[in-house]
């Protein structure tokens, strides 16, 4: 345990009664409750706390807030570690363990620092260079670049504690708990508004906690405390401490990450009638050679460490400034001299210095100290020994959120930074963010003389985190980059976790001066969400892995599970894939299920189909317009296969239409398209054809459906429903009871066998399953899953969504051209007539069989005239579905082949360039099994 050499004996807002132990890079230190990791590291006298990203230069704490570019740390160990946290934002807790980043093997002896020496390899735009190098060079560069490109490693899942986002509505959202934010929140509460106050610090007050002013005759800290207590006591005010508002979007949705600790955060989605942005202003650095040595920091940060944390970051610091704000609140900082860029300073300003010596018209030409500042050298050669340099280069209002919400910014010459232009609808900017408080005697600000920055030996860093220098910006300009957006991307300026907070204002000023332009012509880079680094786990919340989307289970789920189903996710559905016996493989089980269905009887869950109830006097007119095939002749009690086209003439979906009464129809869609079909039908009914008298009801979830198929299916159902007429022809419908359950029994078949679809009310699913299973023992009934369903439809040459209905095929392509009615108009008719959709050389549905019955057609194969020899040839078709057929033996496939319907009997090659194989195949009809359909119809 070490003591705290830089901690002052008294003062500050830390709780000296509660000392905390922590470890940094394996060594033990001590701080107090109320410290941040940064203040505790400074108290311990640690000057080097990290290495820079690109050049691995030693760096120290630079700021005291979210703008921190240097002090990035990893908190925690192993898979629990959370990387890239700003030490200035990490609250000290007892036992905290933190590590520096970008340093290997150690902070003080870093091999990567050698890279800094090989400057040519890491010049401007370094990560674009390999793209221009010879191709082989990329393989050498890639591992090096990848390692350099990342910051800390991502944490393991165990480190992440997810929470469900909280939705909050309020009259007034105040972002920022400094003086202006507190005033706005107090006023809101006084006006009877419901207020949400969000502040990124653990304690309200903002700059009040470290400035020495008084408000309403109270010292600032007490005033802040009084406000905080008042607001906390109000029922109408919610205070989010540690809440970072990182996005403000359209419709005034504010996203706030409330930081509860490393790896723990809570997302708030806030809707407010009115938003007040009291986001404050940040101090800007001053550009000078060697401006990155540990010990160099922002003056306001030094004030904060001193007043709030009772830490002196340096014992003999100097202040470097260009404006009057630096002359405030210097007492106790131990400043040995104030260096002002301006040739003259007004006497009433100088008077504030008391005994501190002042030097005017100063330029810093160099700095010294390998692992921390030891001296600076001025333009006249004078050397000033010092262990700290506090810079005050003016202020930059924090307007990222305002800009994100659509607010426009204007560069203010006097301030040297952007100010908001005009108000937004429901968003106000107040306080320092509006330039509304005294930000240091604006007019007296001195601009930097760029000519003095040229021809210097040491680098001048504009963006400390990404190691982008003044020299890099000049170099980018020399290479033709002018737009600030291009310069940002080429040099990476402003692209770090700090989002270039300390870089942007200086960059704009610099570019304007370099190009002789008005800063408003330069503009600024786009401020996008997130404004501050946000844990992805906070944004995602619980919506990951199996919580990402709802998982739908059919009414037969429990029964299927009981029957030994292995489930598979298909879309949102959890669907029985196969009912494997112990020790059986997927293929073996599928084969058994198929053969049993073809020889005896099987049943399969069809409940996930879309089912829609259509009623009304104009129901038939509606159907005739929706489907491409004629339905006018459909009699009551009959079902017809029907095809729906998109407006552009391609196939949208297939399903069935059943006429229940003259003005009452039952429609089904595929499982995959059920949602889209419903939207389509409702759009047509409500928007396009409001004159048609029809109603449409989604009854998908009301009906549980089992397809019972196989030669024994009729006898099986008849044994449970003696009163039903099951001898009806294909497409018939019997309504009655099956095993005591009210049921609709459709005579339909997807498998190609004699089959019935039994639809019962969803709450009777369990009952019908049990009844069928029990009665089915005498008939050889076995349930079958998605695999067997698919195998049987492929053997039969039936089409499916996703494989044959792939968004590119017309009815004619799939051999269904004769279904398309020429007696009526329907959706898709006009554009189906387009010449390319009617062309004779389109790819058409065919079957494939290998010439060698023992060979396997490679899955996902292409069709070509020549075998695979590793060379290029234009394919003439592709397979859509490949199986080993249990019924017919051997491999078979459905395929789309150019002009295929005229090519049955031809020999082609099924190529798989991926596995480098080809298989000679014969083109056949796609209907492999029972092509006349006797089994399902007779």
């Amino acid at each position: 345990m070490r003591d705290q050499p830089y901690r002052l004996p008294v003062g500050g807002l830390v709780d000296r009664a509660r000392p905390l132990s922590f470890r940094f890079d394996g060594k033990g230190y001590q701080g107090y409750a109320g410290d941040t990791l940064a203040s505790a590291l400074l108290a311990a006298g640690l000057r080097v706390v990290g290495r820079s990203f690109k050049m691995h230069r030693p760096r120290g704490v630079f700021s005291a807030g979210a703008e921190e570019p240097n002090a990035l740390v990893r908190v925690g160990r192993g898979a629990e570690a959370v990387p890239n946290l700003r030490a200035t934002e990490v609250l000290l807790t007892d036992g905290l363990e933190a590590f520096s980043q970008n340093a290997w093997p150690s902070l003080h002896c870093d091999i990567g620092a050698l890279k800094g020496a090989i400057a040519s390899a890491w010049g401007t735009g370094f990560y674009y260079r390999p793209a221009l190098a010879p191709r082989w060079a990329w393989h050498l560069m890639e591992p090096l670049l990848r390692r350099s490109a990342g910051l800390g490693p991502a944490p393991g899942n165990d480190a992440i504690e997810t929470r469900t986002p909280i939705h909050q509505h309020c009259d007034l959202l105040v972002v920022g708990g400094g003086p202006s934010g507190l005033k706005a929140a107090m006023a809101g509460v006084a006006n009877g508004q419901r207020v949400l106050l969000c502040d990124d610090q653990p304690r309200l007050g903002g700059s009040l906690l470290w400035c020495a002013r008084s408000i309403d005759d109270l010292p600032s800290v007490q005033w802040a405390e009084t406000c905080a207590q008042h607001l906390a006591a109000s029922e109408d005010c919610v205070i989010l401490n540690g809440g970072v508002c990182f996005s403000l979007g359209d419709g005034s949705l504010a996203l706030i990450e409330q930081r509860l600790g490393p790896g723990r955060s809570q997302l708030w989605k806030v809707r407010a009638r009115e938003i007040v942005l009291a986001t404050g202003a940040m101090e800007r650095p001053i550009l000078f050679p060697g401006n990155d040595r540990p010990g160099i920091m922002l003056l306001d940060a030094a004030r904060r460490y001193h007043k709030q944390f009772a830490v002196r970051p340096a014992w003999q610091p100097v202040v470097l400034t260009n404006n009057d704000s630096a002359y405030e609140d210097l007492a106790g900082l131990g400043v040995q001299a104030v260096l002002d860029l301006r040739p003259e300073v007004a006497p009433h300003v100088c008077a504030k210095l008391n005994d501190i010596p002042l030097m005017t018209g100063v330029q810093v030409r160099a700095t010294e100290g390998r692992k921390g500042l030891t001296a600076i050298r001025l333009q006249d050669g004078e050397r000033i020994p010092c262990d700290g340099l506090y810079q005050a280069g003016g202020w930059a209002p924090s307007l990222q959120l305002f800009s994100q919400a659509g607010g426009r910014l204007q560069f203010d010459e006097a301030l040297g930074a952007h100010l908001p232009m005009g108000p937004l609808d429901s968003i106000r900017v107040v306080g320092a963010a509006r330039g509304g408080v005294d930000l240091g005697g604006g007019q007296a600000m001195q601009r930097q003389d760029l000519s003095l920055l040229s021809n210097v030996k040491q680098p001048i860093f504009i963006d400390l985190q990404n190691d982008v220098t003044f020299q890099d910006i000049v170099s980018a300009r020399d290479q033709g980059f002018q737009s600030i957006e291009h310069i940002k991307r080429f040099t990476t300026v402003g692209m770090g976790t700090d989002q270039g907070r300390t870089a942007t204002a200086n960059l704009i000023r610099l570019l304007a001066d370099l190009q002789g332009q008005d800063p408003n012509e330069i503009g600024h880079t786009t401020y996008r969400a997130p404004v501050a680094p946000v844990a992805l786990s906070a944004v995602i919340g619980k919506a990951a892995e199996r919580w990402m989307a709802p998982l739908r289970k059919t009414p037969f789920h429990n029964a299927s599970e009981h029957a030994g189903a292995d489930f598979v996710e298909s879309g949102l559905w959890l669907y029985p894939r196969v009912y494997a016996l112990p020790g059986e493989s997927l293929a073996q089980a599928t084969k058994r299920e198929v053969l049993n269905t073809r020889q005896n009887v099987g049943m399969v869950d069809m409940s996930s189909l879309g089912k829609f109830d259509l009623r009304g006097p104009d129901a038939l007119t509606f159907l005739e317009r929706v489907y491409c095939n004629g339905l006018a002749g459909l009699q009551v009690g009959r079902t017809r296969y029907a095809l729906m086209l998109r407006e552009d003439g391609l196939i949208f979906d297939d399903g069935t239409v059943t006429c229940l009464a003259e003005d009452h129809y039952h429609l089904t869609s595929t499982t995959a398209r059920a949602g889209e079909v419903w939207l389509h039908l409702e759009a047509l009914r409500q928007i396009h054809w409001p004159d048609l008298k029809v109603t449409l009801t989604d009854v998908s979830d009301l009906w549980a459906a089992l397809a019972v198929a196989g030669p024994n299916s009729r006898s099986l159902i008849a044994s449970l429903a003696p009163g039903l007429d099951l001898a009806q022809p294909y497409g018939g419908l019997a309504i009655g009871e099956v095993a005591g359950c009210p049921a609709r029994v459709f005579r339909l078949s997807y498998s190609g066998e004699l089959g019935y679809e039994v639809h019962v009310h969803a709450d009777q699913a369990e009952a019908i399953w049990q009844a069928l299973s029990q009665a089915g023992r005498d008939f050889g009934l076995l349930p079958y899953g998605l695999e067997a369903l698919d195998v049987m439809r492929i053997e039969k040459g039936h089409i499916a969504v996703g494989t044959e209905i792939d968004g590119r095929t017309t009815p004619g392509d799939l051999g269904l051209g004769r279904m398309v009615s020429n007696k009526k108009d329907f959706i898709g008719r006009a554009l189906l007539q387009r010449p390319d959709l009617q062309a004779t050389n389109r790819r058409r549905l065919v079957g494939l069989r290998p010439l060698d019955p023992n060979a396997s057609i490679p899955p996902g194969c292409l069709l070509a005239e020549r075998p695979w020899r590793g060379d290029k040839q234009d394919p003439t078709g592709h397979a859509t579905a490949v199986i080993d057929s249990p019924t017919l033996g051997g491999s078979l496939a459905l395929a789309l082949l150019q002009d295929g319907h005229n090519r049955h009997g031809e020999q082609l090659y099924a190529l798989s360039p991926i596995i480098g194989e080809s298989c000679p195949v014969e083109v056949t009809s796609p209907h492999f099994y029972d092509p006349e359909g006797r089994r399902q119809r007779d």
Partner: protein, 90 residues
């Protein structure tokens, strides 16, 4: 992330996530009278103005009333200036 709030005439002001955006409401579907030709359908389906400013569009309130709504939205600001049930509007 849902951004918009849509004042549904039936359900009140609701989050954008409850809705699905549908077809452009600036043009109407050609009638299915056997006479509408490829040109009319091509224009309806493929030609878009990509308007800057006010634009009429259809949104479906799938997690609410199940009605299609006609909404006028400013493509620059996303501000919604009119919401009506398609039937009221027709």
């Amino acid at each position: 992330m849902a951004m918009l709030r849509i004042p549904c005439p039936w359900c009140g002001e609701r989050d954008e996530t409850e809705f699905t955006i549908g077809p452009d409401a600036e043009r109407s579907m050609p009638p299915l009278d056997g006479a509408s030709d490829q040109g009319a359908w091509h224009a309806y389906l493929h030609l878009r103005e990509n308007k800057r400013g006010l634009r009429a569009e259809y949104w479906y309130h799938g997690q609410g009333c199940g009605r299609w709504l006609r909404i006028v939205r400013d493509t620059m600001t996303h501000k919604i200036t009119l919401v009506a049930d398609v039937e009221e509007d027709a």
